[in-house]
Amino acid sequence: MSGPGRTVVEYGYGGNERLVMNMGPQHPSAHGVFRMILTLEGETIVDVDPVIGYLHRCHEKLGETLTYVQYPSIASKTDYVSAMTAELCYVRAAEQLGQIEVPKRAQYLRVMAAELQRVASHCLWLGTWCMDMGGALGGGATMFLYCFREREMILDLFEALTGARLLYGFHQVGGTRYDIPAGWADKARETVTHIEGRLAEYEALLEGNTIFLVRTQGVGVISRELAQEVGVSGPLLRGSGFAHDLRRVEPYSSYEEFAFDVPVETAGDCYARYRVRMQEFRQAIRIVRQALDGLPAGPISSRPGVKSIGQVKLPKGEAYARVESARGEVGIYLVSDGSTKPYRMKWRGASFSNLAVAGHILPGHKIADAVAILGSIDPVFGEVDR
C-alpha cells in the first residue's frame, strides 16, 4: 500500500484529483498513537495506509528478561484498558506449561475480575467512541463523562481489591494474589446494579437518536468473508454473524459453570458492533453476579505466594493460551527452556488483528466516518504495538 517516492498531489477544486492527508499519530480522536495516511478524493477515502509502532515498548523482550513471578505485574501494560484479561492470559499460559492447577476460588475470582474489567473496558469504549463522533465539546463529551463516572466505580472496586487502578498485578502463576476484602462483595453487587441502571440511560441517549443511527448504520461493514480472512475476533467477529466466543468455544477458568448469552448480530456495521458490546455489558454483569453468589471458599492460589525471584520454574515446552478479552482473542505463546524465565514469549494482540481490517473497510467512506469506524473497532495501542 505504501512505498518510497509516493507523490503528493495538491488538492484541486475540480474534485477529481487526490489529496494525501495524514491523520495522526497525535490527533484528538482519543484512540492512541496511530497514524493513518489517507488518500482522499474530495471527501471520500480512497486508500488507507495505517502506520503503527508508536507505542512499541518491547514487551516480548521484557518477557524474556523477567521471570514468571515478575511479568504478571507488567502484563497489564499491553492491553491497559482490559488489564485483567491480559494478565490472565499470561498466567494461564504459564500454568498450561507447568500443568499447574488453579483452585476453584481463584478461578471464580479471575472470572469476576475479567468480567468487571469487561464492563469497565466497554464503558471506556462507549465514552471515547461517542466523544469521537460527537466532538470533544458537545454531546460526545457528555457521554464520555457519564461512562467514565461509571468506570470510576469499577476502578474503585479494583482499588479496594488490589490497591491499584490500572496495573493490577492481581494474577500470579497458580492463582490470584489478592482475595476479596470484607464488604467487597456487597459493594460489587451495588456497583453492577447501579451500572445496569445507567445502561438504560445511555441507550436512551443514543438509540432512536436519528443522528446516531445515520452515523453508524451501514457504516464500516465487515462482511463475514472479510472477518474470517483478516482474522478479527471479539465484538467485530460477533457483529458480523459468527457466534464465536472463547468463553464458550474453549472454556477456561470455570466459565463453563456460568450461564450467559453470547450476543451476535449479522449486519456487520458499526451499529451491530455497538449492539453486541451493549449486550455484553449486561451479560458480563450477569456473570459477575453469579460469581459473587457462588464464590467457593478455599485458597486463592495452589502455589505459595511469591517469596523469591526464582520461585516458579516451568518445564521445557511450549504453550499457547488465549482468553476472550473485551477486544477479542488475546493470546500468549510461551516457549520455556526449563528455567525461571521464558525462552520466548509472543503476544497475540486482539487489537493488532482487529486493526488490520481498517485498511479494508475504510476506503469508500467519508473522513467523518473514519473516526466512527476506528472507534467501533476499539483498538488499544498497547496491544497493537506491544
Partner: protein, 179 residues
C-alpha cells in the same frame, strides 16, 4: 437518510426528547468532582502508594536485614541495597529507591521476609526536581513515620496467598486475613 415524513419527524422528536431528558435528569445529581487537594478521596486499605521502610514497633529497630530480595524481584530494578553484616543480625548499609521509575507493583512488599518495606496510603509526593524522588534510607524511614501504611505487608500477603497444604491451618489464616 431516513425518509422524510411525519412519522420520521415524530420519531426524531421523541428520540431527541429522550436524550434531552437524560441530560436534564443528570442536572439534579450531585457532581462527582472531588475538590482535591482540599478534599481527598478516602483511599482503601490496600492502596498501593509511596514506599517506606519500617521500624519494629517493640524494639524500635529497623526491620530491614539487607537481604536484597526486594532488589532482585523489582521488575524495573529501582531498588539498590547493600548489606551491612553485624553480630546479631544484618542491616542495610545502603538502601535507595528510585520512586520516579517505580511501578508500584508491590512485589518488593510481597517478598520481604521481615515486613520491612511497605507501601503507604498516599501517592502525593510531587516534587519539582527528580532528585527529590530518589529516596534514600533516611527518607524512606521518615515517610514510614509520616503517612498511614497500607494493609499489605510481606507476611500478610503471603498468608493470604498460601495454599491449603498441611491441614487447614494456613488456609484458615488466609481466610482470616481476607476478612
Amino acid at each position: 437518510m431516513p425518509k422524510p415524513g411525519v412519522g420520521t419527524a415524530f420519531r426524531m422528536a421523541r428520540a431527541a426528547s429522550a436524550a434531552l431528558a437524560v441530560t436534564f435528569r443528570n442536572l439534579f445529581r450531585t457532581p462527582v468532582t472531588v475538590h482535591y487537594p482540599r478534599v481527598t478521596r478516602p483511599y482503601p486499605d490496600r492502596f498501593r502508594g509511596v514506599l517506606a521502610l519500617t521500624y519494629d514497633p517493640e524494639t524500635g529497630e529497623e526491620n530491614c536485614i539487607g537481604c536484597r530480595l526486594c532488589e532482585f524481584i523489582c521488575p524495573p530494578q529501582v531498588i539498590k541495597v547493600e548489606m551491612l553484616k553485624a553480630e546479631k543480625r544484618n542491616y542495610a548499609k545502603l538502601f535507595t529507591l528510585e520512586l520516579y521509575a517505580c511501578e508500584f507493583c508491590e512485589l518488593c512488599v510481597q517478598v520481604c521476609p521481615t515486613d520491612a518495606i511497605i507501601m503507604l496510603r498516599t501517592f502525593d509526593l510531587a516534587a519539582t526536581d527528580r532528585r527529590d524522588l530518589f529516596l534514600d534510607k533516611d527518607r524512606l524511614h521518615a515517610l514510614g513515620r509520616q503517612f498511614p501504611p497500607s494493609w499489605a505487608t510481606g507476611t500478610g500477603l503471603r498468608a493470604m496467598q498460601a495454599p491449603p497444604a498441611r491441614g487447614g491451618a494456613k488456609g484458615e489464616a488466609a481466610k482470616d486475613a481476607a476478612e
